[in-house]
């Protein structure tokens, strides 16, 4: 178990900068998610920490030891692969024992460690099976047991749940979290699934084009995204842009909205985000001029019903806004109705200029 420190690391493949001057620290025992779209460099960063790729520049330290030139097999890490990568020629037991055996360990100690690891993932009964006789979730557990049995300094997970179906994935997230807590190993988890990142990790690093856009606790990033990309990639967001004047944001000639109290934005252009679930929606009487109820007015153009909630798409004179209403949170509004949108100005998140 150890602290992992990545400093100013860059890696270029041909003309493509896969990872561009990334610095990030993973604290001892923490559960980190690296989140980003495909091609953002998250897997490359993980593979550099693992030792499959070597940075062109920068340093990687595990427990204070510089490892950027240490090959993977001497880094004492554990890794779980997207497609599990279980050795098809070995039983479950032999797969888990592999890491101990190549280190020269034999006999009773190996047997005990393997049994312990399999118990931890609740697969003790299937020790003699072959990988192809297991279900996807079971394979996932074997891969995890195999990765942690060697007591690695850091556990690396490369989209480990993406091959599972949705229900199983949720179960495995809970399971993964429990095992990580029990073992206490520093864990870095690569994913492109924002819900997974939010629900599973202590901290999230968002990557885009080889750079870390924002790093912090899930709530922190969700509530205070520092860029439009962070706001829209982690959760959904309405983006409003306009001119700052007199503590208000002038969206166009006739529409202005209030900025949060204490925003000391300089006059000029500003972009703000507002989460759809923070937007209140109410039916508005048509043709009543001068009624200033609500911040924006518009017409419902579409409604997506998703069981527990409904998403309304509202056209506000050319600007599309989304509002999410929990089921039972008010009467259904039909498509075509005129509506007023409102929110607490404190929920508006000013985004720094890109």
């Amino acid at each position: 178990m150890a602290r992992v420190e990545v400093q100013n690391v860059s890696l270029t493949f041909g003309a493509h900068k896969a990872v561009d001057d990334v610095s990030i620290a993973f604290e001892d025992g923490g559960f980190y998610a690296l989140l980003g779209p495909s091609g953002s460099g998250k897997t490359t960063l993980l593979r550099m920490i693992a030792g499959f790729e070597f940075p062109d520049e920068g340093s990687i330290r595990i427990d204070g030891e510089a490892v950027e030139n240490v090959p993977v097999n001497r880094r004492r890490i554990g890794m779980v692969f997207q497609n599990y990568a279980l050795f098809p020629n070995m039983s479950v037991e032999a797969n888990v024992a592999f890491g101990l055996e190549v280190r020269g360990e034999t006999g009773e100690a190996v047997r005990r460690a393997v049994a312990e690891a399999l118990d931890l993932v609740q697969l003790g009964a299937l020790a003699k099976r072959r990988p192809h006789q297991l279900s996807g979730g079971q394979r996932q557990r074997v891969a995890l047991a195999r990765a942690i049995v060697t007591k690695p300094r850091v556990l690396l997970l490369d989209e480990p749940l993406s091959a599972l179906d949705k229900a199983l994935r949720t179960d495995m997230q809970v399971e993964l979290k429990r095992i990580q807590r029990e073992v206490g190993v520093t864990t870095i988890f690569v994913t492109h699934d924002q819900d997974e990142a939010l629900s599973i990790s202590d901290r999230i690093g968002i990557l885009k084009d080889g750079r870390i856009v924002q790093e912090g606790a899930p709530e922190e990033i969700y509530d205070r995204p520092k860029s439009e990309f962070a706001a829209t990639f982690l959760g959904e967001a309405n983006i409003l842009s306009g001119e700052v004047s007199g503590g208000r944001l002038q969206l166009d000639a006739t529409t202005a909205i209030a900025l949060p109290q204490g925003t000391n934005a300089a006059p000029g252009r500003l972009r703000c985000a507002i989460r759809p679930e923070r937007v209140r929606i109410a039916a508005a009487p048509t043709g009543v001029n001068g009624d200033r109820a609500g911040q924006l007015r518009g017409t419902v153009v579409r409604r997506l019903f998703s069981g527990s909630a409904s998403t309304y798409f509202v056209d506000c004179t050319g600007r599309e806004m989304k509002a999410i209403v929990q089921r039972g949170g008010g009467a259904d509004i039909v498509v075509g109705s005129p509506v007023a949108l409102d929110w607490d100005p404190a929920d508006l998140i000013p985004l720094p200029a890109a």
Partner: protein, 288 residues
């Protein structure tokens, strides 16, 4: 997501120790000999150690001055074409039936049966035809037992015998390559064509045949090339009618001992085969 590792960049240094033995062997036993053959074809006398040997184009001139060589080469090319054609006509339907009518274990078993002879000794298989084709042989006897009138039937030592032997030798190749590309055609494509109103024949012509073309062409190349250079089959089944370009080359090395001429004739054959492949390369590429 998939990234090629840096450990695999500049991999030549790591690959060399593993590659060198195999490629050194191929160089010594294939590539250097082929180069030596080109050099040898330009020598005047048989042994390169002899003082009198000097460089000449006489061996190539011999090919062009004596019409016999060109005639025989033409005959060999015709034989190659004929055998290839028969293999396509016979082999493609067989591959189609295997890939699209048979299912499961029956398909696997019959497929194995079709290609099994290919891996047994070709010399012996050619030889086995001599018992079938000769006068008083099995075919002759069987036909006379069935037919009400007397026929004498002696194909042995004739051009048709050579063709039959070669088709027998190379047919499994065509079935194999056609089967591989036919099998890769999704049945849903055939169903889609049929659902759009195409007849069986139109489906075969417009959908299946174009998709299977790479297999047909690969098989044709694999058959045509060795058949043009065949000499053992014509010797065993062709008798006096079996004099072909390949047998003339064989003679230069085993009977006449004019190695430089043999080398020149071999090289001309190689050049002609390569030229044919190059000319058909655009078609092959388009099909692939």
């Amino acid at each position: 997501m998939a990234t090629t590792g840096t450990r695999r960049q500049n991999g030549l240094a790591k690959a060399l120790p593993l590659l060198t033995p195999a490629y050194a062997w191929l160089t010594l036993a294939i590539f250097l000999p082929l180069s030596a053959m080109v050099y040898f074809s330009l020598l005047t006398s048989m042994s390169p150690s002899e003082q009198s040997s000097s460089l000449t184009l006489a061996n190539y001139a011999a090919f062009f001055s004596d019409p016999l060589y060109a005639t025989l080469l033409w005959r060999s090319l015709q034989l190659g074409l004929l055998v290839t054609l028969i293999c396509v006509v016979v082999g493609f339907p067989a591959a189609y039936v295997l890939a699209k009518i048979f299912k499961g274990r029956a398909r696997e078993a019959i497929f194995l049966l079709v290609i099994l002879p290919f891996w047994s000794n070709s010399l012996v298989r050619v030889f086995s035809w001599s018992m079938v084709l000769r006068e008083g042989g099995i075919l002759d006897t069987a036909l006379n037992a069935v037919l009400p009138f007397e026929v004498t039937f002696d194909l042995m030592y004739s051009f048709p015998a050579v063709v039959i032997g070669l088709v027998h030798s190379y047919l499994p190749y065509m079935v194999l390559t056609c089967y591989l590309s036919l099998q890769a055609i999704d049945d849903a494509l055939i169903e889609a064509a049929r659902s759009l109103g195409a007849s069986r024949f139109t489906t075969l012509r417009r959908v299946v045949a174009p998709l299977a073309l790479p297999g047909v062409l690969a098989g044709s190349a694999l058959i045509f090339i060795p058949v043009v250079g065949s000499f053992m089959e014509p010797r065993i089944l062709g008798g006096r009618g079996g004099t072909l370009y390949g047998t003339v080359i064989e003679d230069q090395f085993t009977a006449v001992y004019n190695w430089p001429l043999g080398a020149a004739l071999s090289f001309i054959l190689l050049a002609v085969v390569l030229a044919i492949l190059l000319v058909s390369a655009p078609v092959l590429r388009k099909a692939a």
